[in-house]
């Protein structure tokens, strides 16, 4: 009973938030609805017993990715009237993308109805370890059966990261603003303070 109730609550919230993400007029509100949608998707994950994936969804998407979205949207201060001016121009492209997605959805459901796809011969090596927690199961799979795929994914991310750094890196030409941290830390009070007793009427030469 309570599972069904929770499922419909979370599912309805995911769909409503996703709809409001594209309907919201203010881009910041839009990101907030996106966050709400991520959050409720994490709730759905918990219902099917995938608590590890739910937590990762919150940590990665809500805690990091969406914060950066919010950051950028706030910084850019997008004028939405200007964006909507190009609505009619991009309308056919949007419709085309929507049609492709709809076709995929229908095809996916149709294929599922026609019988689930058999991916390779089930040899039992990917079967979950009974009695072990979510994390142990995922770990055993990722670092056992799918080790090379997992490491490839890591390498691709590394390449992407290095690419992003190379694209934004600029050689520091002007020395302005550059600070030698080691020099700052090594500085002692004795180097910075001088005790003098100047005679009356005479200044101090620094």
């Amino acid at each position: 009973m309570i599972q069904t109730l929770a499922f419909y609550l979370f599912a309805a919230m995911v769909i409503a938030s996703a709809a409001l993400t594209i309907l919201a007029r203010n881009p910041v509100h839009s990101v907030m609805w996106l966050i709400s949608s991520f959050f409720n998707a994490a709730g759905l994950m918990i219902i099917i017993g995938a608590e590890f994936i739910a937590m990762l969804l919150v940590i990665v998407y809500v805690g990091a990715v969406a914060v950066l979205f919010l950051f950028i949207v706030m910084m850019l201060n997008i004028d939405f009237a200007e964006l909507r001016a190009g609505f009619m121009k991009n309308f056919p492209v949007g419709i085309a993308i929507a049609l492709v997605l709809l076709a995929e959805l229908v095809l996916g459901i149709g294929a599922y109805r026609a019988g689930a796809l058999e991916l390779g011969v089930p040899d039992g090596s990917a079967a979950p370890i009974l009695g072990a927690s979510n994390i142990e199961n995922i770990g055993a799979l990722m670092y056992g059966r799918y080790l090379f795929l997992f490491e490839t994914a890591g390498l691709i991310l590394l390449v992407a990261m290095i690419g992003a750094i190379v694209l934004t890196h600029r050689e520091q030409r002007a020395p302005r603003g550059h600070q030698n941290i080691a020099k700052q830390i090594a500085r002692q009070p004795e180097d910075a303070i001088v005790n003098t007793k100047p005679e009356v009427g005479k200044g101090v030469q620094l």
Partner: protein, 348 residues
């Protein structure tokens, strides 16, 4: 507690529901009281270090000062700036406050005394603490004012930076404990140091991680010396500038609840949680929650001490410390600790 409510003639579902609600109240209400008292303690310690008296007028020794302040803000008028985004402006303090309470669900107060004894307890804490940044960022943007906006930008960058190193220190703890469950982590620390010291801090590989965690916790909760988000000499009051009355109080309570949470995490992850400091059967007569409270109080004292003595960091220093020192250091220790464990515990 579910069994107790079942004995009153409830079905299992209702008993579970009632006992969970009772558990939430049992944690949240004393927590609010503790936050009120800890604000008083913070001000007293700060005053003592500055050779002042601190609050001493309301109630005996000024003990009721926080309640007087609370009553004052409760009776104040809530002012919403006309240019503010009203909905988000009011949502921000609620987010901060709620998120500060959420994480307490998985904190073990004693053997078995935990509201939600879930397998992914530590990940849950990481997830919830990563939400804390929203209250600050939204309040800064929704205020539609320059200083709060600057503060929100600072806070977002600061919290994301230090969350990374906090994540890696937690990975080190999890590697050694072999579990994400909070009670499991506490139990893994039993007799950890030479068979009689309870706590991971005694481990030469985990001690540097504790230092990193303590400093990152200061940065994560935006306490001095990392309180750049509310640096009064530059940003008035930071993201709280436009807030008044209860919406301000919610920020305040949430902030201190977060500080208490970080002190608790220090105690639970590195200092043995509800276990006595050393393995001695006589010490087990003292209830576990009391040991935990003593440890939390000790860490809170350290936090106040740092606040009273250390000058504020510059922003570039803060970023350098997070990304160039803590991140490589904690990554190095993740590799070191997993290597050591492979060598000694799991075998090659």
């Amino acid at each position: 507690m579910t069994a107790f409510f079942q004995s009153l003639g409830m079905t299992y579902e209702w008993a579970w529901f009632t006992s969970t609600i009772a558990g939430i109240l049992l944690i949240a209400l004393p927590l609010m009281l503790a936050v009120a008292m800890i604000i008083y303690v913070d001000r007293k310690i700060w005053a003592a270090m500055a050779l002042r008296k601190g609050p001493n007028v309301v109630g005996p020794f000024g003990l009721l000062q926080s309640f007087a302040d609370g009553l004052k803000v409760f009776l104040q008028e809530t002012i919403i700036p006309s240019a503010a985004n009203k909905g988000l402006f009011l949502l921000a303090p609620i987010i901060t406050f709620t998120v500060a309470l959420l994480a307490w669900a998985v904190i073990p107060f004693n053997s078995g005394a935990v509201l939600a004894d879930i397998n992914v307890g530590l990940l849950y804490i990481l997830a919830v603490s990563s939400l804390g940044v929203y209250g600050v960022v939204i309040s800064g943007w929704a205020s539609n004012s320059k200083y709060p906006f600057f503060s929100a930008m600072r806070a977002a960058a600061q919290m994301i930076s230090y969350e990374v190193s906090i994540g890696f220190t937690l990975v080190c703890v999890v590697l050694w404990a072999g579990t994400f469950n909070m009670n499991g982590i506490v139990l893994a620390q039993q007799g950890h140091g030479l068979g009689f010291v309870n706590g991971f801090f005694f481990n030469p590989l985990l001690f540097p991680m504790w230092v990193v965690f303590l400093i990152s916790a200061l940065a994560e909760t935006a306490r001095a010396p990392f309180d750049l988000t509310e640096a009064e000499s530059e940003l008035v009051a930071g993201y709280q500038t436009e807030y008044s009355s209860m919406s301000f109080a919610l920020f305040w309570l949430g902030e201190y609840a977060n500080v208490l949470l970080m002190c608790t995490l220090n105690a639970v992850l590195f200092f043995g949680g509800w276990l006595p400091p050393v393995e001695w059967s006589l010490l087990y007569y003292v209830p576990g929650w009391l040991w935990l409270f003593i440890k939390i109080f000790f860490f809170f004292f350290v936090f106040s001490w740092i606040k009273a003595t250390v000058p504020r960091f510059r922003y570039d220093q803060l970023m350098r410390l997070g990304w160039k020192i803590f991140l490589p250091l904690s990554l190095l220790f993740v590799v070191l600790i997993s290597g050591w464990l492979m060598l000694t515990r799991y075998g090659v």
